[in-house]
C-alpha cells in the first residue's frame, strides 16, 4: 500500500510518500490507517487533531472514513484543496 501526502501535510509528516509492505492486516479501513499513521508520525496526529478535516483519497477518488482498503491501494492524505 502506497501512502502519499500533499501540501503542508507533507511538510508536517516529513515525507511525500511511504510504502506499507506488507500491509499490517488490521488496516482494512481509512479510519484504521489514519490511527496507524498518527502513531507513526506525530506531525500527522497533530494535523488530524488541529487543522480541521484532512481529506483522503483512495486510488484518486475521495472516500469516507469507513472506506475499505486493499493491499494494492494508493492512499493519499491532504489538506482541503485551494486551486482554481
Amino acid at each position: 500500500m502506497r501512502i502519499r501526502y500533499f501540501a503542508w501535510l507533507k511538510q508536517r509528516v516529513g515525507c511525500a510518500e511511504e510504502l506499507l509492505d506488507p500491509v499490517p492486516p488490521h488496516l482494512t479501513s481509512v479510519a484504521a490507517l489514519k490511527a496507524f499513521l498518527a502513531e507513526r508520525h506525530p506531525g500527522f496526529a497533530e494535523a488530524l487533531a488541529s487543522r480541521g478535516v484532512i481529506r483522503c483519497a483512495v486510488n484518486h477518488d475521495y472516500v469516507p472514513e469507513d472506506a475499505p482498503l486493499r493491499a494494492g491501494d494508493e492512499v493519499a492524505f491532504f489538506p482541503p484543496v485551494t486551486g482554481g
Partner: protein, 148 residues
C-alpha cells in the same frame, strides 16, 4: 476537454480556438483565474501550485462529465496550471459553449465552484519578504460548491 499543464497558456488564443468553425453555438461563457499580487493585505511575489498528478485529471474529468450531464453543452474546456507562476499570469481557464446562454453561464460557474473544492491543487504563496505560506481553504468556497 481537460488540460493540466505547467506551461502558461494564452487565454485570448484559447477563447479564439474554442468553438471555432461552429455555427450552432449561441453562447460561450468563460472564467479566467489569475495570480493576484496581493492576498490578505500582503504583497505576493509568486505562487506555486502543487497538485496530485493522476488524481487531478481524474477529478477534473469527473467534474466536466457532471457539467455535461446537467447542462446541454456543445463544448467544455478546463485548463489548470501547476508549478510556479507570477502575479498577472493565468492559473485556470474554464470555457463552456451551449445553444443557450444560461446553460453556458451556469455550467461555467458550476465548473469553477466544484473545481475549487474538489480538484487536488494547493497554493503556496511567496510574499515579497521571501516567506512561503500555504493558502488556507475558505469556507465560502465550500458553500459555493454546495449550492449546485
Amino acid at each position: 476537454m481537460i488540460r493540466v499543464q505547467a506551461e502558461p497558456f494564452d487565454p485570448g488564443m484559447e477563447l479564439a480556438r474554442f468553438g471555432q468553425g461552429r455555427t450552432d453555438i449561441g453562447a460561450v461563457a468563460t472564467f479566467l483565474g489569475l495570480v493576484r499580487d496581493v492576498h490578505g493585505g500582503e504583497r505576493i511575489a509568486a505562487m506555486t501550485l502543487e497538485h496530485y498528478p493522476g488524481m487531478t485529471e481524474r477529478q477534473l474529468a469527473a467534474i466536466e462529465a457532471e457539467a455535461r450531464a446537467r447542462w446541454p453543452l456543445d463544448d467544455c474546456l478546463v485548463i489548470h496550471r501547476y508549478g510556479r507562476m507570477l502575479p498577472g499570469e493565468p492559473i485556470v481557464l474554464v470555457a463552456t459553449a451551449s445553444a443557450h446562454r444560461h446553460a453556458a453561464l451556469e455550467a461555467c460557474a458550476f465548473l469553477i465552484d466544484w473545481l475549487k473544492t474538489k480538484a487536488p491543487f494547493w497554493k503556496l504563496e511567496e510574499t515579497e519578504t521571501g516567506e512561503s505560506r500555504w493558502v488556507e481553504a475558505r469556507e465560502s468556497d465550500e458553500e459555493a460548491a454546495a449550492r449546485w
